[in-house]
Symmetry: C2
Subunit: 98 residues, 2 copies
């Protein structure tokens, strides 16, 4: 299995309503991208200081499944509408899990 | 469920052998920390440029389970032996998942 993990820090002017709308858009992706096996995203709960603001963890059967997600038009449209221009920092890893 | 996600960028002088030893130490943690429900870690597979080097995704029943892990002596010993002094950058989020 391939797991894709990505974190974001929002720009200071990003509102809670905008983040909620991003969450709803992410909720809609698994129905649009058939290679997604699991999709768990959410905002940092505030237990520790210095954290990033938001994370997406997505599981796929294999690398091709991840690439189909990465390059999917609905995913790219979500990025253009909700991520690009709103993100001060981004951190990502793709890795294989048993 | 609470999911803890943390990514690292290693310092340039960290060797593959050191990262392998870190992976083995992480493999041993679930047997030592009873609140861990799932524990999936690994190195970035190199599909995308600009990524972090390593990620740990850990699941717990609740916040107390995460805190028991965060503050567990065996976890703290692993951090002291394998993480502190080896990390150029760190990114973390804790979030609730259904």
């Amino acid at each position: 299995m391939i797991r894709h993990v990505v974190m974001f820090r929002w720009n200071e002017d990003v509102t809670d309503d905008e983040v909620s709308a991003t969450g709803r858009a992410l909720d809609a992706l698994p129905a649009l991208v058939p290679s997604i096996r699991e999709y768990r995203h959410g905002g940092d709960m505030g237990v520790n200081s210095g954290n990033f603001d938001y994370v997406v963890v997505a599981d796929f059967d294999d690398v091709d499944g991840y690439l189909a997600y990465r390059d999917h038009p609905d995913h790219q449209a979500l990025i253009a509408a909700h991520i690009t221009g709103r993100v001060a920092d981004r951190a990502a890893v793709q890795y294989g899990v048993a």
